[in-house]
């Protein structure tokens, strides 16, 4: 085990990919094994020292950033324990870097469907945030692929849960060592990573997935895999009709169905951020971006779609080089946005709202009206196939900052009124308590705090993640 106390040595662990800058810790532990982990946790429990679990640090809500106490880095839990080709599963330690995992299983002709865009994330981080990957339109979030979790609790006990073994019954999930009441709120049936999962008859493992480091330390997981993907192409269709997008997307879903792996949207403002890298982007257009199974029939279908909706231009990547270029097109937007605003010193306000299929056109129209009405520079892009767009605001003055917060709240309330979620893929962390409270009410947050206290009676783990620690009193 490595222990570090030097300020500079800890510095990088006091940040993640969010704007949260209130990190502070007195010590960093890098345990080698569960034995180390148990002694750290029981020691901290005894001395009432807060513990924050840290993985790849790619989270976007400050989840791994501690306000106080110690950091527990999972980087040495990096062993892939086995890959079962017949069963198509893998058991791995929580600190395995996603990229390493993908590279290894690729050699076996296998694929991990929910892999996130940011491949320096750890598998444990993905499970803790229920991350959704590049192909979540097709494959859904991490939750679907987790078959087993091994977790160390703050009292030093080990909890092992296999999917399909314990279900909620009569309002209770019985984990053996303790019973947990099912919260009265329900997780909406949309892409969602907001707070503890809650559904009637739910599997006990699903409470752990997406719990953002508040219930225990995940040390090992077993995940299911699928065969390597068939050849794919990417097509970008540039369109003028920004208003008609929800309708067009609906038609695309109807026409292409199972052939699609991802279905993304970039509004005209988002494309502006890409024009330096891709000067051929046509003026005054928005874009639909899809990845599809590659065959001539699908290509012809897309030509049909492009013609039907008067596409200004289409880009198609089938060979490796162009494919990589267009993957870069997709990944570069968030990077360019962040780089630009860092340069001019503006903190962006980024939303992660998703709603149901039927409500999406209304939500989209709502965003569009907001963009027209408000002076603040804003853009809209993201996972339109899952009714999940990232509405980003860039307030340029203090006045605009205040207004941006108000707009955020207005959008949150609208989404909730439509049965949606305030966090579709990035979780709540330390920066979205307020929105979660609007979604589930003060009561909902208190119920979550109650559940946390059952798993972590010392109330030391992942404090201020999901709900304010004051609720633990």
């Amino acid at each position: 085990m490595i222990v570090k106390t030097g300020k500079e040595e800890i510095l990088t662990y006091l940040e993640d990919a969010s704007n949260f800058r209130e990190g502070s810790a007195e010590r960093l532990y890098i345990p080698d094994d569960e034995g180390d982990l148990i002694s750290i946790l029981t020691d901290c429990a005894k001395n009432n020292i807060p513990v924050t679990i840290s993985s790849g640090g790619t989270g976007t809500v400050g989840g791994r950033v501690p306000r106080e106490g110690v950091i527990l880095s999972m980087e040495r839990f990096n062993r892939i324990i086995n890959i079962d080709k017949n069963e198509k599963t893998s058991t791995l330690q929580a600190g395995v870097v996603i990229k390493d995992f993908l590279d290894l299983i690729e050699k076996e002709g296998l694929f991990y469907p929910p892999f996130p865009t940011e491949r320096t994330a750890f598998i444990g981080g993905n499970v803790a945030t229920n991350a959704s990957g590049e192909y979540s339109f097709r494959f859904g979030p991490t939750r679907r692929y987790v078959k087993k979790i091994r977790m160390i609790l703050t009292n030093g006990d080990t909890l092992e849960i296999k999917r399909g073994c314990l279900y909620e019954k009569n309002g209770v999930i019985d984990y053996g060592m303790f019973k947990v009441p099912l919260p009265s709120y329900r997780t909406p049936p949309v892409k969602c990573s907001a707070g503890y999962f809650s559904q009637e008859g739910m599997d006990g493992i699903d409470l752990i997935i997406g719990s953002e480091g508040t219930l225990g330390v995940i040390t090992e997981v077993k995940v299911s895999l699928i065969d390597a993907l068939p050849p794919r192409f990417i097509v970008i269709v540039f369109l003028r009709d920004e208003e008609g997008i929800p309708f067009i997307v609906k038609e695309i879903k109807k026409m292409c169905g199972d052939a699609l792996f991802s279905l993304e949207f970039f509004d005209s403002g988002s494309l502006e951020f890409l024009k330096n890298d891709f000067p051929a982007i046509p003026e005054n257009t928005c874009a639909i971006y899809v990845e599809s199974v590659s065959n001539t029939e699908e290509m012809e279908r897309w030509l049909d779609i492009a013609e039907r909706y008067n596409a200004v231009d289409t880009w198609l990547a089938e060979d490796r080089k162009n494919y990589e270029k267009l993957i870069d097109f997709r990944h570069r937007l968030p990077e360019n946005i962040n780089a630009y605003f860092k340069k001019i010193g503006i903190v962006k306000v980024a939303m992660d709202i998703a709603v149901g299929e039927d409500s999406f056109p209304e939500m989209y129209g709502f965003y569009r009206d907001m963009m027209k009405k408000e002076k603040i520079h804003s853009i809209l892009f993201g996972h339109i196939g899952e009714n999940h767009l990232h509405f980003n605001l860039f307030p340029a003055s203090d006045e605009e900052k205040i207004r941006a917060k108000e707009i955020y709240e207005i959008c949150v309330r609208k989404a909730i009124s439509l049965g949606g979620t305030v966090a579709a893929e990035h979780g709540i962390g330390k920066i979205k308590h307020k929105w979660l409270e609007i979604m589930y009410g003060r009561e909902g947050l208190k119920e979550m705090a109650g559940i946390k206290k059952i798993f972590d009676p010392y109330c030391i783990l992942g404090l201020d993640n999901i709900f304010p620690k004051a609720l633990l009193k």
């Binding site: 030097g6 040595e9 097509v235 000067p279 051929a280 001539t296 290509m299 012809e300 897309w302 030509l303 492009a306 231009d313 289409t314 880009w315 198609l316 990547a317 089938e318 060979d319 490796r320 080089k321 162009n322 270029k325 267009l326």
Partner: protein, 261 residues
Amino acid sequence: MNIVVCIKQVPDTFEVKIDPETKRIVREGVESIINPYDNYAIEEAVRLKERFGGTVTAISMGPPQAEKALRDAIAMGVDDGVLLCDMKFAGSDTLATSYILSCGIKKIGNFDVIVCGRETLDGSTGQVGPEIAHHLNIPYVTYVSKIKNISSGVMECVRLMEDHYEELKVHLPVLITVVKEINQPRIPSLKGMLKAKKAQINIWKSDNIEGEISSYGQDGSPTRVVDVWTEHMKKEGRKVEGETDKLVEELATELKKLGVL
């Protein structure tokens, strides 16, 4: 305006494998792509068509599988593809290659501008373009970084030199070789891609073109390859772990040992 673009299919690798016996490039097991510089040539040819009208024909000499390169060019907006493909062409050096290509271009006929990439990834001679111009007895401009205008049979273009640019005017028909700075090659459109899939590529054998057979292939190649090898660069890596202070010390010692510091 009739535009011809000359392209070559090359192995997609930085480390070209050479057969130690034949001294030729081993193509097996390596994905083939359009010579990267030729993508700029294709793009510029298509842009010329878009600016001034006309048609673009891509021509390549190579094995049957080089048809794929021509299809990729069509996907980018080229109208027609011609593949010069015959065992008699095998073993051609730059002189024979440029001769065969010039015969093919003569057959296409009626050309105003011929566009080539500055050089190929595998051969890196940069000779084929100028030699084609020589065989066709037309002027050529190498390292073109911008075509400013074409009017009244005159092209105004800019040439990228080592430390300066040259601006030239040249009469059509003309051959140019282009550098990366000239444009950003487009990503194919859906329409282009589908057209490419269905396109008929013209395959011309030695009897389809008019040329001296003795100038084809090995017979027409004065160059004799004495030896070819790939330079093996040794990459080494070592991972060190431990406390920061010790790591810094170790790194400094290591760099001094290697003469970097």
